[in-house]
């Protein structure tokens, strides 16, 4: 069975999102492997559950963190989308919003936090600093882009991004989650450092080393 072509976000037409080609490419890649009907339907249910219940880790290093709090607060309220419960423990969180500059001293800590999270886990790079180093690109102590150490799913540009942009980015993550495979298939083929394609199953034990080399999932707004 084919994977559902278009991930739907309630009340927002598909065409209004950017980067649809990327998702379509993802769907094509997934469909090459194929899956049977029952598994496909189960996948849909699992993805529906997962995409609507993404719990963020309370993680913030600088300015973007305050905006992240604002997204959680009364006016923007990401609880509406099911991002309700910000968990302070990485074990219970589903995605990490890297909100703010990551420095050389923080990088191993962030990596460790990511490794501590339970699968499936996602990463959103929020703001210029996390995407590329931003205004501190030339500094001696700033990691130029969190994608050097973690596989990033969604990038939200801005300095800091407006809360609306954050919500948009989080919805993009939801759309991406809706296209995943849980049963009988692989989500992506990753290039092994040696060159031979290596299969990364979603439920397999986390293998951060494989992700470290090259962030494959990329989506820029």
């Amino acid at each position: 069975m084919e994977i559902k072509k278009k991930p739907r976000i309630k009340a927002i037409p598909y065409e209004e999102f950017n980067d649809n080609e990327y998702l379509e490419k993802m769907v094509r890649e997934l469909n090459e492997n194929g899956a049977n009907i029952i598994v496909g339907v189960l996948d849909d249910i699992v993805n529906w559950g997962r995409s609507n219940s993404l719990w963020p880790l309370t993680f913030a290093t600088s300015c973007c963190g305050i905006e992240f709090m604002a997204v959680g607060a009364a006016r923007y309220d990401f609880a509406r989308f099911g991002f309700e419960v910000t968990r302070a423990s990485p074990r219970q969180a589903d995605f990490i919003m890297v909100a703010g500059t990551i420095t050389h001293k923080m990088a191993p800590v962030l990596k460790r936090l990511y490794d501590q999270m339970a699968d499936p886990k996602y990463v959103i790079a929020v703001g210029g600093c996390a995407i590329s180093g931003g205004p501190f690109k030339k500094s001696y102590h700033v990691v130029n882009g969190v994608d050097k150490i973690l596989p990033v799913d969604v990038y939200i540009p801005g300095c800091p991004p407006r809360p609306e942009a954050m919500l948009y980015g989080m919805m993009q993550l939801q759309r991406k989650v809706k296209l995943q495979k849980f049963f009988g298939g692989v989500n992506r083929k990753e290039e092994d450092p040696d060159g031979s394609p290596q299969e990364m199953s979603e439920t397999a034990a986390p293998e951060p080393a494989a992700n470290e080399q090259e962030p494959v999932k990329k989506e820029e707004k």
Binding site: K10, I45, V46, W48, G49, R50, S51, N52, S53, L54, A73, A74, D77, A79, R80, F81, G82, E84, R87, A88, S89, R91, Q92, D94, Q116, A118, D119, P120, F182, T203
Partner: protein
């Protein structure tokens, strides 16, 4: 009032008519077990949804809105996600205890849950020392929490568990004392009997001031026993990240999460049963017409209505008050609530002995 035992009796007769007696009882047990688990899950889902919406309302937010109408299906998403999330294996943790702990907590919670008389004739565990059993069963939970904290090999967990141990064991006393007050009034420990005695008036009205005091003590102590704010020290998010369940992920964490909410419901359910008349409708002496109308409403609606009202009350408290400190919690219990509870018990004894109650 509709007696649910008619239905259960009919089923029993039906089963025994074509099955040997032992097998019939076995089938009934299985059916009831499944029924309890389903009811437990349903209550958990309703409670979590209620918590989200209630706290959102207090906080000038909307809460979940996007999944299903008004976000009603949100919790099912969470359940599916939890079920499919990885359970992280902790290195150097005590594996057996680590895996056992959430089940201990949930088992204690289910046991206590089955004690609640929901409707007339709809009691699952109901015998002459019901209150005793309820208190005993619900206090097994603390063992699970201590195990979780100890086995996780995490300092935060350990501190959370120690706090929890100190707190839950202390507040058990107050819960016990306030329930005892009512036991003195009714001279029975059977939960269904306690409800039946309230046919002519709920105990909170019948028991004078003493019952009101007991009710308030029970609410405070009960709130503390289920580790809900302002007594949520064991999992104090801003201090210990997630307290005793810091290291738990996936469904193991889900079990703790669910147990917390259902425990809150149990506390409210017990408060309803003991103080607010259980499934008994509200009767006002002299208003015959009004009473007849009230009788028309089924018992379980009364029960759930009252229980959720108490839940709402406790949620209101949770979302309003700041957290206490560990020494303040223990001071509150040992210096104020227990002496008050003891005096209150004495007062109730006097009331009963001199027949001052209504």
């Amino acid at each position: 009032m509709f007696d649910f035992s008619i239905v259960t009796g009919w089923i029993h007769n039906l089963l025994t008519s074509f099955l040997p007696y032992g097998l019939a009882v076995f089938v009934e047990c299985v059916a009831i077990g499944i029924g309890i688990m389903i009811a437990y899950a349903l209550i958990a889902i309703i409670m979590i949804f209620m918590e989200r919406k209630v706290c959102a309302a207090f906080q000038c937010r909307l809460g979940p809105m996007r999944v299903g109408p008004q976000g009603t299906v949100q919790i099912f998403c969470d359940v599916i996600k939890m079920l499919t999330k990885e359970i992280v294996k902790i290195r150097e943790a005590d594996k057996f205890l680590y895996n056992l702990a959430p089940y201990v907590v949930i088992a204690a919670s289910v046991l206590a849950f089955s004690c609640l008389p929901v409707n007339k004739g709809m009691e699952v565990l109901d015998f002459n020392v019901g209150v005793f059993f309820l208190l005993a069963a619900s206090s097994i939970g603390v063992v699970g929490i201590l195990l979780a904290g100890w086995s996780s090999n995490n300092k935060y967990s350990l501190i959370g568990a120690m706090r929890s141990g100190a707190q839950m064991v202390s507040y058990e006393l107050s819960t016990g004392l306030s329930i005892l007050t009512i036991v003195v009034l009714t001279d029975t420990m059977q939960l269904s009997e306690i409800v039946a005695r309230q046919a002519d008036g709920w105990f909170i009205f019948k028991g004078h001031v003493s019952a009101v005091i007991a009710f308030i003590i029970y609410l405070i102590a009960g709130n503390a026993e289920v580790n809900r704010g302002p007594f949520d020290l064991p999992e104090a998010e801003s201090e210990l990240t997630a307290g005793y369940h810091t290291e738990y992920s996936g469904m193991h964490f889900g079990l703790f999460y669910v147990a917390e909410f259902v425990n809150l419901f149990i506390i409210s359910g017990v408060a309803t049963t003991i103080f607010l008349g259980g499934w008994m409708p509200l009767h006002i002496p002299g208003w015959e017409g009004f009473n007849a109308v009230m009788d028309f409403i089924p018992g379980f609606v009364w029960f759930f209505g009252k229980a959720f009202f108490v839940v709402w009350l406790l949620m209101w408290i949770k979302w309003t008050f700041p957290r206490l400190r560990i020494d303040q919690i223990l001071t509150l219990e040992w210096k104020y609530l227990i002496p008050l509870g003891l005096v209150n018990l004495l007062l109730m004894v006097i009331i009963v002995v001199f027949k001052l109650h209504f």
